[in-house]
Amino acid sequence: MSEPAPTDAAVALEEGYFHIPTAAGEPPRLIGTRCNACGEHFYPRRETCAKCLSEDTAETLLSARGTLYTHTFLVAPGFGDNQSKGDGYGVGQIDLPEGPRVQALLLGERGSFRIGMPMEMVLVPTGKDKQGRDLLMYRFRAVEG
């Protein structure tokens, strides 16, 4: 799957959560926060360190790859009478090397996920905005190869 780039045709579903690559071969990256006082990293970005409560924090780009901590496959997405007509989808939590545990939808078949497997972040279109541009959102999938 080729990595989309910000163009007139695609924008982030919401600003401030991930960086859309601008060069070919560049992976998308989550935007997080690093605390300058204690060194802890967080996703999503935040002003105040959740660990030491310091306000001396800075935005940082996080790794595009991590390790699958846990997963499920939502076979029948629904809540009461709200039942999705679409296919099921994977959901997982991925540990990034900097420390944050990220929850995200997974790309991949039911039964294909294993705790501990290396995962990588990709961007997929999920709907369009009023101007007809693709709205991009991240997913994680098993690293190929």
Binding site: L13, T70, N82, V91
Partner: protein, 379 residues
Amino acid sequence: MRDVVVLGVGMHRFGIHRKIPMSQLVRTAGRAALDDAGIGFRDVQAAYVGYLHAPVMSAPKQMKEFGLTGIPLLHVENASATGSVAFREAWMAVSGGHHDCALAIGFDKFSDLRFDVSAQSRNIEGTILPVAFFAMWATRRMHERGTTREHLARIAAKNWNNGALNPMSDRQPDHRITVEEVLAAKTISDPLTAMMSCPVDDGAAAAIVCTREFADRVAPGRPRVVVKASVLRSETYTPGHTFLGAVIGPQQMTTDTAQAAYEASGIGPEDIDLVQCHDAFSIEELEYYELLGFCRPGEAESLLESGATEIGGRIPFSTDGGLIARGHPGGPTGLAQLWETTLQLRGEAGKRQVEGARTGLCHLVGGGSVAICTILQRE
């Protein structure tokens, strides 16, 4: 700080009640609690009104139906924990000397909520359905502890069968539910099946608390059910903290909340006779055996296999059917737990009665997230 007594409890059966107006659910629960307490609405000095999905202004609008007595009232919301938190507000008001008698009431209709559950979302938080979130707890535990689907099914079957004994339970099966039937139900999110999951339903429940003196005057000679602890906590930062999309924060939050309740009351897990917990999905009850301190980490499966958590066992859990069978309409759930515990401690639980029940623990978590533990004891 004054001791607080649970004077009366009441509820409307949980279930899918499309044709019953919310006001009727509320009236039924409120009237039942007042009648159980043996008081009128004039005696209520404050009302703490819990709901998630009723319209704004529902607190005064619903309370006016009981009478226009000018009492202070407010809307309480802490997601799934709402009912217990409303109860805590009433307890604090009486304990702190602000009122002698207060009402906590909860109501909600989840069955008519409409929202998009597909993978496409309109915002970054997405729609992470609770079933998927807790299914991930199960996947992780199966990996770490060797938990099987049969363990998850056994808890669900136990709670369905307890629900059959509770006239207020949403799910009251007409036959004995087996592990096999739970496993054969439709899978919602691996490894959870529909029968391991609480229903999406409606209901109302209420509790009235008061001072000892008030209870002595109104209900002399009745068993005294006293609030020994009510502890509410929110998240603390832990390794592996997940901020975006996590329905409930770290499991440590439940442990810390229970610990604080045990310390505040001087009552430990060994003194507890029955437990109601946040069993929205059966994996949760399994984890809460450990997190609430009833066995050591890694031993929850053994505790379950021993039969200890069935009615008749050493430490029954979810005696009223739990969230899985009795239901979970949000606002009233915590008050349903307290309804059950109060009846059990009075010896009024009929076929569900835990022999000699004297002390009960109620636990809930609420999305965002919070955890609350309440300990009641009969004197």
